[in-house]
Amino acid sequence: MVSQGQGFYSRWMPWLALGVVIVLLPFFVRPAIATVIWIFAILAVAFNILLGYTGLLAFGQSTFFGLGAYAAGLLLIHYKVHLFTSLLAGTLIGLVAAALIGRICIQRLGLYFVLLTFAFNQLFFFIAYQWNKLTGGEDGLPGVPRAPLQFGSFTLLDLSQPFNYYFLTAAVFLLSLAAMKWIVESPLGMIFQAIRENEARAGAIGYNVKRYKWIAFVIAGGFSGLAGVLYSMLFGIVPLDTIHWITSGDVVFMALIGGIGNFYGPIIGAALFIWLSESLSVIWARWPLMLGIAFVVVVLFFRGGCMEALERLWGLGMEKLKPGSR
């Protein structure tokens, strides 16, 4: 917010904390899982720009995540592109797809918006499912190589090593986070929040609300695509689930459980979700039931998510925006 000054503590604490967690995490969970956490953290924070900041419940983020993953996967498999090219390609396809889909979905009221984003998610899911010559269909797209981090002929980092790939992902995560933080703290971010707080008045004071919603949608799409690229290279395969609507729902859940009223909340949500699903899935095949229950509990009783609970407990003076209801 413009008027709130930010103390040194509240401004840099989160980054320090993140830095510590990034370094320590691979010692607590498998590097692959740790990598997944940061990938979904990007996804969840990007999604929260839509939900927490702009008040838009988009139920189709996996569209862009999946498109980014498939695009990068295909480029890497068939054309052996450079790492940066794949990252760029995934982000671009996320941006372009979001621009086109957003153009259509934004026109409509909240209800239709949810339905439409969901329906487009389905559309792309079924295209991926049916077009198995291209995408591998149900079995996913296998054989995605990890392009090394190299400049010219100098290889900086051999990404086939799990730890190396982990740190690359973490680095991309931090950069993305910084970019998204810049955006939400800028006047643009304020405009998004004004739309959430009072859409009609935001229009009445001169903002083309539809255009700004579209901008938010495109931004979220771009970062989702970027996350998708990282995901494609992680396991070397792009599973069909990447573009399934349940993944979209998972992202919503992550943001919610972490706390949509806080910029960093969704990160906690992503970590919690991934860690939980990892731990539970080995114990019980029906673990989605626990997930569903957790979901319902959070929605009914625990709406502020973890961030609000933390804040209440420890009185942390972090940047605070309460979630809007519409």
């Binding site: 209800l111 339905l115 969901f118 049916q130 319902v296 929605v299």
Partner: protein, 291 residues
């Protein structure tokens, strides 16, 4: 590619059967959407529950008709419980949270179905008297499916009569158009919500129950049905009964016919068509509410 008339007619009729089921699902979803402003993500699993309830009841009472009558009532009760116990608590918080509740419940019910009935699909033969085909001249078409067509037609007519010719139906219709007004008129809008959710759930339940002898049951049938319901509603238009009927039939028949020509693309085409229609006509084919 053999397109003979009998196969053609058979597919067409299949499309109508599916279309009527889609229409009923669409009507139920549309009512809930219209009056509560939430896309009910649990609508698919309610459909599945109707099917599974029928299956189990039949195993117990060995009478298809009894099972058919009772199974949807079970779903109706569940629907009303969801509304009363869950969604109602979230009125003050906003539609996003109500929507997310239905999503969470969909996950829960989906998993419970697998837990209780197992991950493997099941099938069931049509009840006695309706197993064979009916000779329509060009094609011999299963009697049961004709029965489904007839019954769903009657149910839809019944719903139409209820909404348009009874006082309570008028209240519901008014609520779809303008909730606040209904509340201002002193009518207990919350009860309307619960009953409407129940009605929508009942429709989903009976759709699920009816489809069992046609398509069998699988645990994921609910999740598979959900996107199609959404398409039916988005296409037919919010709050429009006739819209859901028309859209349901269009989609059912289109899906069926495309199967003959380009089976791979059938479902993609549905979504593409929906997208196009919504671009051109945001309120759907026959939508009431302005967007």
């Amino acid at each position: 590619m053999e397109l003979n008339l009998s196969a053609f007619l058979g597919q067409l009729l299949n499309g109508v059967v599916t279309g009527m089921i889609y229409a009923m699902m669409g009507i139920g979803l549309s009512l809930i959407l219209g009056i509560l402003d939430i896309p009910n993500f649990a609508h698919g699993v309610l459909f599945a529950l109707g099917a599974y309830f029928l299956y189990s009841l039949f195993a117990v009472v060995a009478n298809f008709w009894v099972a058919l009558a009772i199974a949807p009532l079970g779903v109706l009760l569940i629907g009303m419980a969801i509304e009363y116990g869950g969604i109602r608590r979230l009125y003050p918080v906003g539609i996003n949270y109500m929507l997310l509740l239905t999503f969470g419940l969909a996950l829960i019910f989906q998993e419970m179905i697998i837990l209780i009935w197992g991950p493997v699909g099941k099938s069931m033969i049509p009840p006695a008297g309706l197993e064979a085909g009916f000779n329509l001249g060009i094609v011999s078409y299963p009697k049961y499916r004709l029965f489904v067509m007839g019954l769903t037609g009657l149910i839809i007519l019944g719903v139409w009569l209820f909404l348009n010719k009874t006082k309570y139906g008028a209240i519901i219709r008014a609520g779809v158009e303008d909730k606040e007004m209904v509340n201002a008129l002193g009518i207990n809008i919350r009860r309307v919500f619960t009953i409407t959710f129940g009605l929508g759930s009942w429709l989903a339940g009976i759709a699920g129950a009816l489809i069992v002898p046609v398509r069998g049951l699988t645990p994921v049938m609910g999740f598979d049905m959900l996107p199609i319901c959404f398409v039916v509603v988005a296409l037919g238009g919010l709050g429009s009964l006739s819209g859901s009927i028309v859209a349901g039939l269009i989609i059912g028949v289109a899906q069926s016919m495309i199967m003959l020509v380009w089976p791979v693309a059938s479902i993609v085409v549905i979504f593409a068509v929906m997208a196009i229609i919504l671009v051109l006509r945001p309120q759907g084919l026959l939508g009431i509410r302005e967007v």
